[in-house]
Structure formats: C-alpha cells, structure tokens
Assembly symmetry: C2
C-alpha cells in the first residue's frame, strides 16, 4: 500500500503522517517546498506544484500510489471563504484525482467541510439528508469536488471527510481556540462573542487519525468527521480559562458574532462511527495539551 499525502505541513496533514506510518503505508508526501528539519526519515517527500497539471501527472507517474489522502487547498485565514484561488484548487484536485485514477489508484479520501451543508436548517448535519447549499465559494468548490469525486471513482473506492470544528497545536493564531489561549497566557483579556453557538470540536490529531481510519475503511461517500459531542463556544473558552487559571480574564460578549454564524452547527456521527476510529483526546485533555503547546510555541 503506497499512499500520497498532500498538504503534509498543514494543520491536519502534519499529524496524518504518523498515523499513515502506523497503518503500514509506504508514505509519499508532496508540497511546493521541501519539508524542513526533522521530517520522518521513512517518508519520501516530493517537491511539486499541485497547481501545475503537468507536474501532477509526472508526480503520479513516478509514485503510482494505491491510495490518496488529499488535504492541500488554499486556506489563508480571513480570505479562503471567498477567494478565487478556491477555483484553482478545485481544478488542481480534479487533475490530481484524474491522474491518480488513470494510474490505477484504488482508494481516495479527500478533505471536505461542514460549509458544504445548508446552515439555515435545524443545525444537525446528516451526510445524505441535509441539503448541500454552501453559502460561499470555498464551500461550493468543496461540494463540487465531492460530487465529482463520487462520479469519477465509480470503479474505485472513494470517501470524503467533512471536517467540522477542530483545534490543537500549530493552529493559526487568528482562529478561535488560539484567540482565547494566547491572551490568557499573556495575562491579557480574551475577548469572545456571546459564546452560545453550539459546535462540535475535535482535536486535530484525532481528526488526522480519523482520516487515516477512513482511508483504511471501505466506507464510501461523505462522512462527517466530528466528535459527536456538541458544546458551546463559551464552554470551550471557560475550560481554557480554568486550565490557565485566569477565568477572570475571559470576556464573553465583548465581540459581536459574525453575520451568518449559525446558533447550532453539529454533526450526525452515525456514519462516522462505522469507520473504526477511536479518539485519543477528551475535550479537556485536548485543550490541556493545546494550552501546553502554546506555552512554548514560537511567537508570530
């Protein structure tokens, strides 16, 4: 079993390498840059530009992977929801999948998003029931790729992991969990929204492990990747504040909630439970590990 992993330096991808090795894959990674420093010596890294169709073809011809785990995408915070780059990554992903299938690839798993779903309903997203009605270009490109993967992969295995909310080491500082942890560690006020939004948070290392379990399984089509244990944003923030010992510095309601931020956005996890995955982290343990990581993280 030879797997090609895209996005090996990304938030989820960097955790996926270890789980792929543990599952016995011959692991090949691709990124536009070399992987610096302490990369796994048993992994073969390839330097290529996934936005160049000819480089994709050459890469696949050289590796001939049996499995594909595809995370790479345009993900610049604050911009990725609406950027035209989403169209380039849709096209790149189609080129990659096309080459993979042409070279005899057996099973692909691609990262999707809860933003593919209609968020105006009851808030519980069920894979084959909740309408697919993305409200931004990112969600529309991902939803398109899911439909196309399903059609292109008729004679091979294909699954699609819809990611909900996640946190953990190496998260971008502008995102929710770091936006609470970092000021509290500096003994500054952490400003939050009202915090009553219900979400489904999972530690990034469990998300990566779940994707590898999905790759190892024979489950097909879209699968929600989520804890199945909804919690409010406020509960997350309060847990972090307790772990750091500064609940006095937490300021819920100090920020306005975003327009379009649904009150409830959680995953139905019945299909997910069938892939044979066991999470490592409880929410408390995961947040504790993340707080510890941020204590020694490089400043941005």
């Amino acid at each position: 079993m030879k797997v090609l992993l895209t996005g090996p330096t990304g938030f989820i991808g960097r955790h996926a390498v270890r789980h792929l090795l543990a599952s016995g894959y011959d692991v090949h990674t691709v990124d536009i840059r070399p992987i610096p420093g302490n990369a796994e010596p048993s992994v073969t890294h390839h330097t290529a530009d996934l936005l160049d169709a000819s480089q994709i073809r050459d890469l696949i011809a050289q590796i001939r992977p049996t499995h594909l785990l595809h995370f790479a995408w345009y993900v610049t915070p604050g911009k990725f929801w609406t950027a035209r780059e989403n169209l380039r990554w849709l096209q790149s992903s189609l080129d990659l999948l096309d080459s993979f299938l042409d070279s005899g690839g057996q099973r692909s798993v691609i990262a999707g998003t809860c933003a593919e779903y209609d968020w105006t309903g009851c808030g519980v997203c069920v894979e084959e029931q909740t309408p697919i009605r993305p409200s931004n270009l990112y969600g529309a490109c991902k939803a398109s790729l899911q439909m196309l993967q399903a059609q292109l992969s008729a004679s091979s295995g294909a699954a699609w992991g819809r990611i909900f909310h996640l946190y953990g080491p190496h998260e971008h500082p502008s995102r929710f969990v770091p936006s609470v942890i970092r000021p509290l560690l500096r003994a500054e006020t952490a400003a939050c929204t009202h915090g009553s939004q219900v979400r489904d948070f999972m530690h990034v290392d469990d998300v990566a492990s779940a994707f590898v379990a999905l790759l190892n399984s024979s489950v097909s089509g879209p699968v929600n990747i989520a804890s199945g244990s909804p919690t409010t944003i406020a509960q997350i923030a309060e847990q972090i504040a307790r772990l750091i010992g500064r609940p006095d510095l937490l300021s819920l309601g100090a920020l306005p909630a975003s327009a379009g931020d649904p009150p409830r956005l959680v995953a139905d996890t019945r299909k997910f439970q069938g892939i044979g995955f066991t999470p490592v982290y409880t929410l408390k343990e995961g947040l504790s590990q993340t707080v510890e990581w941020w204590k020694t993280a490089p400043e941005d």
Copy 2:
C-alpha cells in the same frame, strides 16, 4: 446590451439567435468553426476554441459583453452522460464566466439540466427543495457549475435554466422523438419502450425563447425550463403516429426501458412562470411542425 451566445449552432442555441435579436441585443456568437451559409447578417460571429482559456480571455476582452447566454458543452449522444469531457467543459465554463465577470459582465444565464436533481424521489423537481444528487458525471459537472456561478456572481445577475425534455427540428436522430418520427415516415415499425414514463416536453424553439426571457428577467438562481404539462412517452408517440397516419406501426413495449429511467420526472414550474415567457407551441402543434421538418430533413 451586448450578448455573447455560446453554442450558436447547437440544438437550442440555433433557435436562440432570433429571440436575442428580437429582444434588441447586439448579438455576438462564438463557435470553434465559422457558421456556414445563411447566418443572420446582423450577428457578429467569432471563431474561438472555448476549451482554451487564453482564447476565452482574448474573446471577452474583444467583445466586452454585458450579457452571457451559455449553451456550449460536450453533448455527443450516448457518451455525454459519463465522458471525461464534461470536466473540460466545466473548467471552460468557469474560465468563461470568470473572464465575463472580470470584464464587467452584468448578467449570465447558463444551461443546466434536470439531471442535477435526485431522481429517486417523488418525481416533481422543485428548484430550491429537491435534493441535488446527480447520478452521472454530466449532472455532477452541471450541478457544480450552478453552485459556482451563484457564488461568483454575487455582485451581478445570474440565472440557471434547468432543461427538462425537449424536441424539435435538428434533434439528433438517436433521441426519442426522431426515433419515432423517422421510421414512421419510412413506413417502418417504430419500436418504443412501455411508454408509461411521465415527462415534461417542450418544443426547442420555446426552450430557446424561454432562455432569452430568463436573460431579460431579473430572476436569479436555478429555474426549471419546462412546459408544466406532464405527459407520458406513449402519449407523445401516439400523437406522432396519428399525425403521420400510421398508428398501426407504433410498437410500444418493443424495447426495454433503460435502467435508472424514472417512472416520473417533471418540473415544478412556479418559478418559471415568473420570468415572463409565453410558449408558442402546444404539444400537438410542436410535434406537427417537427414531423413536417423531418419530411424534408437531410438523411444522416
């Protein structure tokens, strides 16, 4: 108002030119070949390959259309449902739309298909309610393009016409209506399936006229393009046989129905009725006109 029409020699596109002129547009058409013979003199035709992004950019820069009516696609009968060419036309359509919007385009209307809908439900397709669940690559590419058009066109007008069943002059001989008309005109048996499938047929000239009405309207998002008068396939075949005077040669049940051929596939036309379109043909008149056309049509 300057419109760019793609697919001007296609089944629907060839009828659209006249309706665009009647609506007062400065009409520009594009095809990979020159338009032979008796083209409308008031139309400006451009020869370009829409599968070449640089040719699209040059074309749009030259014309700078305010309106776009996009029919061109890969439509080879018997192949278009699953051909990889669908992916190339999805990409081409995105390139076209992107260039159109970048150059200040104000309103786009693109041809979609009833094959975007889930066909396993009750059979009545409602634009914003029936699940989008295409069962082939053609439907998946069209459904993807619709989602992406909606997101890309946030600051401009955009509508999407979901075509149901149609018939008329210049239809490919392998399709249903010609497959009944042609043998009957040769005094041969016309073999049909059981014929109890309920469909929603519209004359191709009315379909073209409806697309132009949609372009002229301010309606946005997907709109079913259909008569709203469901009929069975058998009723169509029997009407044709009566018009030709050979009901004795009609053989219903002689052919097996295709797997996946739903018993009922009809359009909810409430949204369509809001675009200000009036059909010209009744089913009987349209079939009669089509039979007359086939009497003098060139043999294939």
